[in-house]
Symmetry: C2
Subunit: 200 residues, 2 copies
């Protein structure tokens, strides 16, 4: 597919990324990776010192990609409401194509806590981005803006995480699930904006 124009290290990274996301770190073997990349086994350790370091590299790049994307998304010249819609729509688009991403990231962050946090530089994210300041101003009295941002992410991301359970509990098939997520594309921003209005 898109393997052709990548060098060996790139092939390995792409194959490893796909496998890590699909099966998790523990269930992905170096031989899987080499085979999927169409490359000799020893090259995995030749280009990346170890399986752990390969994982760390991929994880860092993935998360940094996320943050970078969020940064540009929230700092352009749209209105507040448009930014809300953008965040929701953007993550729904992403997760429709890569539904395993959140579980992978969250569970592997738990398994490799040392790799994260510090290396990410997300600790200052809240302060740099204008969106959060706008959000803080619009928050009802006594409600910390982080609550609202949590809600926005929750309502968007969680359905993808819980999809297996939700599908089983409701009898939805994949198509029905996707239609539901399309509805949420407009519903979530409405719910979110209504949370900003003072509770009566």
């Amino acid at each position: 597919m898109s393997e052709k124009d990548l060098d060996t290290a790139g092939k390995i990274k792409e194959a490893a990324s796909q496998l890590f996301i699909e099966k998790g770190f523990g269930r992905t073997t170096t031989r899987d990776i080499a085979t999927e990349a169409g490359v000799n086994l020893a090259l995995v350790n030749y280009y990346f010192r170890s399986k752990d370091e390969l994982f760390s590299t991929i994880m860092t790049e993935t998360v940094q990609g996320f943050i970078w994307q969020l940064r540009v998304l929230l700092n352009d010249d749209k209105t507040f409401e448009e930014k809300v819609e953008l965040v929701v729509s953007n993550y729904i688009d992403l997760l429709k194509t890569r539904p395993d991403l959140p579980i992978f990231m969250l569970s592997e962050i738990r398994n490799h806590p040392e790799e994260m946090a510090a290396k990410l530089g997300i600790d200052k994210l809240m302060h740099e981005i204008k969106f959060f300041q706008e959000l803080a101003q619009r928050c009802p009295e006594g409600v910390h803006p982080i609550h609202l941002f949590m809600n926005l992410l929750s309502m968007t991301v969680f359905p993808f995480i819980g999809k297996p359970v939700i599908s089983a509990a409701t009898g939805m098939n994949d198509e029905a699930f996707m239609m539901m997520m399309e509805q949420r594309r407009t519903l979530i921003p409405q719910w979110f904006m209504s949370m900003l209005k003072p509770q009566e």
Copy 2:
């Protein structure tokens, strides 16, 4: 601790459950389990045929416990609003003591899809429980009740799942996070009820 009054199979199950939840299936070894249970290695395979079967047993019991709990919680003689508060409060209590539970369940459900769904009997859950019927009646026109139930679960469970990221992004410590979740105990029901009012 509570090991004393358990038979060997019980010790193994308790140790395995703790380790599976804490480290996931892949990173938990049968030797870990035997050691933690204070029991000979071979007994793991003696009482449960294999590591997979041990996992399957624990997983099934855990999920069935969840469903059973949800069932009794939602079918008593409380008002609708009280039930909403009960669900939120109940899961917050649970997740405060076992924050790894959702990631474990959701990621392992993904890794052992065959074990789940059919065995769980959650497919009929939506239809049996009165709460969902009440919810359906209160839903605004054109909004499927599953959306609202998703939101309720999302806003309650997701913060625990995303805690590492959220903490890193905001600089919260554990205490601050717990205080935030205490606030959500009352906030989430308010947000939820406001979603049921027709959008203007």
